[in-house]
Symmetry: C2
Subunit: 418 residues, 2 copies
């Protein structure tokens, strides 16, 4: 009987899509040859701390318990081979222990051939607006009644999560207009992020507004809560009532605006990636302040977020000699925010719910007449972490099906020999 494949140091499923055909080693490196010609190298110390045995991982939680610095010496490779299950077996000196590694897990974690482990889960596709554009729109069937964490739920969530991750925006249609429905939708993705505006907030004109959002005036394109160190990664808005004249919703892809600025006015782009603007709320009982460029690039130069909201900026407190250039760049950006080429416009119907990346998309609304009817959106925030986690789980469920199918194959009766 074949030995079974070893455990992995996680709860994930790793289909064995390729076999290891050859293995060699020196004291510090194991080199694997795969059946498709790929060659992968793994460091001895990396293998040691990513083992899945009980000296490395707590079997109850699969969290690491090994502290590498307590070993008597650097882990070195004494011997290695591939066993009958296809697993890599490595003898580690000086502990004189033998560790087994799952080939599917090893293949996925092949850092020798991984260009960038931080690439987006779904490719980012920037977009322009215009009259013929509308958001990716899906029926909301299933969001309220599939079993949490089931395969059916994964199927319902997948196209929505991919639209949000890729285009920054999705619209679900046909939801009930019960207040609080939003929380059930949001929790399909992850826990709601509460703020000083509450857990669920109500966007309607108020008598004593603590934000321009709670008036009937037009709102210019903006992200919410740029005054926070980490402004919310996702915003959800659920339309419960809309019978007013005006108040059309407008959304812009902030990454597309930034790319246009980079192309058309590179000095302004560069200035807006550098100048630390002061974002500040003006409120009677809270005082959030954060400093940030308006266009934030990550350490690889890729667009990470935009922080744009004229009405949530405090006085600029930067290097005196940069102030005129900063304002020139700001105006170059402001002009583009008004250009129709970026604006995706739509009207909320009761039962619509939009989910969008609040660190990428800007949203705006036209003024409406408070006397013409009622307009009531219910909103909440999530973090980007939550959608990434949920999407990885959706991908994991797909891998689990592959592993289960392969197991069925293995356990099917062998072909009768002649």
């Amino acid at each position: 009987m074949h030995p079974s494949l070893p455990a992995t140091p996680d709860y994930d499923a790793w289909p064995v899509t390729h076999q290891i055909t050859d293995v060699s080693h020196d004291a510090r490196l194991v080199t694997l040859h795969w059946d498709d010609g790929r060659i992968s190298r793994y460091h001895s110390v990396w293998l040691r701390e990513n083992a899945a045995d009980d000296s490395t991982v707590n079997p109850a939680t699969r969290e690491r318990i090994l502290d590498l610095s307590t070993l008597s010496a650097w882990p070195e490779i004494d011997n290695c081979h591939i066993d009958a299950s296809g697993a890599l077996v490595v003898g580690i000196a000086p502990e004189a222990i033998e560790l087994r590694f799952h080939p599917g897990w090893l293949r996925y974690h092949d850092y020798d051939n991984t260009i960038d482990d931080r690439q987006p889960l779904v490719p980012v596709t920037t977009w322009l607006g215009g009259p013929e554009q509308s958001p990716v729109t899906l029926e909301a069937d299933g969001w309220l009644d599939t079993t949490p964490d089931s395969r059916e739920e994964a199927e319902v969530l997948t196209p929505a999560l991919e639209a949000i991750l890729g285009r920054g925006l999705v619209r679900l249609r046909g939801l009930p207009t019960e207040p609080g429905t939003l929380a059930h939708i949001a929790e399909r993705i992850g826990p709601i992020r509460s703020t000083n505006f509450g857990t669920l907030f109500n966007v309607k004109a108020k008598h004593d507004p603590d934000s321009n959002a709670y008036t009937s005036i037009a709102l210019p394109p903006h992200v919410d809560l740029p005054t926070r160190e980490y402004h919310p990664g996702l915003q959800l808005l659920h339309c419960l009532e809309n019978s007013v004249s005006g108040g059309q919703a407008v959304m812009l892809d902030g990454f597309a605006v930034a790319e246009a600025l980079r192309e058309e006015d590179p000095d302004a782009f560069d200035t807006l990636t550098r100048v630390q603007w002061r974002f500040a709320n003006t409120s009677r009982n809270t005082d959030y302040v954060w400093h940030s460029p308006m266009i934030v690039l990550d350490d690889r130069g890729q667009l990470e977020e935009v922080r744009i909201a004229d009405f949530l900026r405090g006085p600029l407190m930067t290097n005196f000699d940069e102030v005129d250039a900063a304002y020139r760049a700001l105006m170059a950006l402001q002009q583009r925010l008004r250009q129709p080429r970026f604006a995706l416009r739509f009207t909320y119907a009761p039962g619509d719910l939009v989910i969008f990346d609040n660190r990428r998309l800007l949203h705006a609304r036209d003024a409406f007449s408070g006397d013409s009817g009622h307009r009531w959106l219910q909103g909440c925030y999530l973090e980007r972490d939550e959608i990434r986690s949920r999407y990885r789980i959706v991908q994991r469920r797909r891998r689990e099906q592959l592993v289960a199918a392969a197991g069925d194959e293995l356990s099917a009766p062998a072909h009768a020999e002649p």
Copy 2:
């Protein structure tokens, strides 16, 4: 009668500690001379967009409504003077409007003389551990019964907020041991940050643990949730029961550990500020992943956060040629985490509540025997934003008192002239 001082573009209070003695201008700059000799310059465009009049700010919310790029030309200064109230009055061309600026507000927002608007609200003081050390400890009187946002509340909160901002840690004593009390304490600072572990989580040994925290094993020094893009800025732990043998709490100042490493092994320090480790939770239904250095410096080279938790690291997926150096640096760090010089040790008494900066401090606990009694901590998270906002409000209340006192002076009967 004197004209009254103009409004400011916020809800804050700005005591007039100095008078403007002289003013001059060219088209793009106003130059002020103050009664203590300070000279401050303000750009025309900066003054234009930070005005507090109704063309610039929505009077209901004090949020900006001006879009600078809609002006017909760059705002230039046509004339300026100091009026009888002590305010700066600026005539702006080409709009031909006159704007008035509050001298207390101008003095505070003097970016011409501000070295760094991003300096910490309270100076950061790193600390070592050792047997004679204990956390800053305050009686919790008042946290449950002062009026929210009152001057009395500000007095209760101030020393605790200053300890957390400055040393990263405070201990409150003498609270009730009712489950849920924690939420009332936390909300004095700001809204709780929910996670997949819930809003309030219970740290006790569980039968089916989804984290090593929910076992009775020792936990090495770590921060919570380094698997999130923004790991929680504050953690609160409230002791409801503690009758076990063992289970002593240990805390380390991660900034002190980082500084020691920088001094003693600069290569390891440098490596840990650069290598992108993979932080990953291992769970059945969530899959959080984030990449980060273990020691994070901001763009000015100052310590911003540490991300250290061996049991929440996934397989390192970085540049192949950096792997051995990364592990050497990791072990240099791990060795220091075990050194008694950093460890502050204490035993939770029922009714104790600690609040600490989870992006700076590492916490750990000794193993305990589950049979020896009960150990129950209730915990929750907040963001750093919340404590900063709360502390700014405390400072604002102090300024309001100064302004009110000055107002009393002004409204007091004038000295009788001879």
